[in-house]
């Protein structure tokens, strides 16, 4: 478990651009020579993308709730009504 955990941490570092030059070169050499490792990295890259997509959907929901809440404030709602009528 510990080595898998460390490996996932290293992949994160590389994907997020936080790995040093020397370690980065070793990492990239392994990517070229170890197909199973390269697959893991690709899956983790996509996992990052999915988490970001999930997070943005959630955040947009939060902003939509703020908008709906502000529509209950007469000043805010009147301003929008005046602009768009």
């Amino acid at each position: 478990m510990r080595s898998e955990l460390n490996e996932a941490g290293l992949i994160d570092e590389w994907l997020l651009g936080r790995m040093g030059d020397e370690d980065g070169r070793h990492f990239e050499a392994r990517l070229l020579t170890d197909e199973a490792f390269a697959e893991k990295v690709e899956a983790q890259r996509m996992a990052h993308r999915l988490v970001r997509r999930y997070a943005r959907t959630e955040e947009k929901g939060r902003l939509e709730r703020i908008y709906r809440l502000l529509l209950h404030e007469p000043d805010f709602a009147n301003q929008l009504n005046t602009i768009f009528t």
């Binding site: 955990l5 697959e39 999915l50 970001r52 997509r53 999930y54 939060r62 709730r65 502000l70």
Partner: protein, 213 residues
């Protein structure tokens, strides 16, 4: 500081709802309305405390007026404004927000770029990763659809895991913060749980990719 009607009215309605709920509970009746109202009140209260609400209240009418002058609709203004707020939120959390003027000026400038890009202009301006317009070719649409379906399945099977990964990768929370927020015994336990969640997502991705081939 101005006191809005809601500041006084909402707690008063909440108190009445709680009082009536207990009155009906004692009398053996218990209309669901009171629970629903209490729940809604707590959600609204949470949103009222949201740090983005002041920036939203202060900036959106200005942006909406600008969009209107350029022939856009309220819905278009809202979409572009939300994209700009997301960029602001993400940069702030990542510690990469460089403000030369006020947050409002930053959000209004970014929202204008988002809106113009949505209309095919301002294409030279670089937006953060993932905010680029999605291509219209079939291959891109396929990838987009596959990702959406994969995400739906991941959320169905483990929303808590997605929340944990969001806290780590998107909100840049420390493992100590994650442990506290999700009720783990400490950072070590949070790290292991984060790994398990990541592994679950990777496995699902691999199985979908194997199925697609």
């Amino acid at each position: 500081m101005l006191i809005r009607d809601n500041d006084l009215l909402q707690p008063a309605i909440w108190l009445i709802a709680v009082g009536m709920k207990y009155f009906f509970a004692l009398s053996g009746d218990h209309p669901i309305f009171f629970d629903t109202y209490q729940k809604r009140y707590h959600t609204m209260n949470k949103e009222m405390e949201d740090p983005m609400i002041d920036l939203y209240r202060e900036s959106f009418p200005h942006f909406a007026r600008m969009v209107r002058r350029m022939g856009g609709s309220l819905e278009e203004a809202k979409d572009a404004f939300h994209d700009a707020l997301l960029i602001y939120i993400e940069k702030e959390r990542a510690g990469t927000l460089r403000l030369s003027r006020s947050p409002k000026a930053y959000v209004l400038g970014t929202a204008k770029i988002c809106w113009l890009r949505g209309r095919g202009g301002a294409s030279m301006v670089q937006l953060p990763d993932g905010f680029e317009a999605v291509g219209t070719d079939e291959e891109n649409e396929d990838v987009e659809e596959r990702e959406k379906s994969l995400l739906r399945s991941l959320v169905r099977s483990g929303r808590k895991c997605m929340e944990l990964l969001k806290a780590f990768y998107y909100e840049h929370c420390s493992m100590d913060d994650i442990a506290e927020r999700f009720g783990f015994s400490g950072r070590r336990s949070a790290t292991v749980q984060k790994y398990k969640c990541l592994e679950k997502v990777r496995e699902e991705i691999k199985s979908i990719q194997a199925y697609a081939q």
